[in-house]
């Protein structure tokens, strides 16, 4: 620890990083065990269970005739409960995408990750899920590109959106 300069307006004793790393400045560490569980609600509960089976399921609203994915029990456009469960395809089109050269924990990446919103075939226009596209050179990705879901093998699925490993282009 260094003593503070007298001219400093900030009270206190600044920490010397080197002293801290060398253990010359004594400290106590603590790792709290923080666990939680969200209630999925009915719509997402069914959605996750179907993902585990390798299927994508949506909800439809008979009034506005939309098919919504991820499913929801309430139509935010009509202000009424949605009506039916509808299976949709595990293919779709790239609605938006990003070439991401920085990982989630801020490491620089040589090969970019390609997060994308996939407009799912069988659901209403603009209805899609945020996921990741692979098996394509970054420069070739474009909006409207046809893609298909690549599922994890069944024993590895957990009832999560990551039960789809990634989406890949459909070769024509």
């Amino acid at each position: 620890m260094k003593s503070q300069p007298e001219s400093s307006l900030v009270r206190g004793t600044p920490l010397d990083e080197k002293a801290l790393r060398q253990g010359k400045t004594f400290s106590v560490t603590y790792v709290p065990k923080l666990q939680y569980a969200w209630d999925t609600g009915q719509a997402i509960g069914r959605y996750l269970a179907e993902l585990k089976e390798g299927r994508l399921i949506a909800r439809s609203c008979r009034k506005c005739e939309r098919i919504m994915i991820p499913p929801r029990m309430f139509c935010e456009r009509c202000f009424r409960p949605t009506d039916d469960w509808v299976y949709v395809k595990d293919t779709g089109k790239i609605f938006t995408f990003s070439l991401c050269y920085v990982s989630w924990d801020v490491r620089r990446l040589k090969q970019p990750e390609i997060p994308a919103v996939i407009e799912v075939d069988g659901a209403s226009p603009g209805m899609g899920i945020l996921h990741v596209v692979k098996k394509i050179p970054p420069k070739k990705v474009h909006i409207g590109m046809a893609v298909r879901a690549v599922w994890k093998p069944k024993p590895k699925r957990t009832g999560s959106v990551t039960d789809i490993a990634y989406w890949e282009p459909i070769k024509k």
Partner: protein, 161 residues
């Protein structure tokens, strides 16, 4: 909507929050832990006007807020002021061996210090007011932690036998 969960429905989404914190012991704590680690000594700080000796050392007096600069070595022996025998762990699970914790005033200090009471085989033998001695780990095992003190051992007073 009161529909009951069906078999093909997942009910909850689990998560964890990774958090790690690090507290530095402060300027007063630095004096105490440095002396404990390097010399196995117990160092407090004195406030003369308030007639207090704080252990572990503090950088200011809690009563008059004066800066404390006078360091005092406190003895390893003292008296048991209070104690607790704990039969359960943090989660409420029963412990195989109960843990004893003692609140001790060491000779030369006016404050109390909380630590383990060692080798308590029979809880009925522990009495408030009995003499205790601080057990400090050998130097090679000291790292500048409150656990460099192993705890307090009852050495006499009201203890039977």
């Amino acid at each position: 909507m009161t529909q009951l969960p069906t078999k093909n429905e997942q009910r909850s989404w689990p998560g964890k929050i990774p958090l790690t914190s690090l507290y530095t012991v402060g300027t007063g704590g630095q004096i105490f832990f440095h002396a404990l680690k390097t010399q196995g000594k117990l160092i407090g700080t004195r406030c003369n006007p308030c007639e207090q000796v704080y252990l572990p050392a503090r950088s200011f007096c809690e009563r008059c807020f004066a800066e404390l600069t006078e360091q005092v070595q406190v003895k390893r022996t003292g008296r048991l002021v209070s104690y607790t025998i704990s039969y359960v762990d943090h989660d409420g699970a029963r412990l195989r061996r109960p843990t004893a914790l003692g609140l001790v005033q060491l000779e030369g200090a006016t404050t109390l210090i909380l630590h383990y009471l060692l080798s308590v085989d029979d809880p009925t033998e522990v009495k408030i007011g009995c003499r205790v001695e601080t057990v400090i780990k050998p130097k090679a095992k000291r790292i500048g932690s409150i656990l460099d003190i192993e705890g307090f051992r009852v050495i006499g007073g009201d203890r039977k036998g």
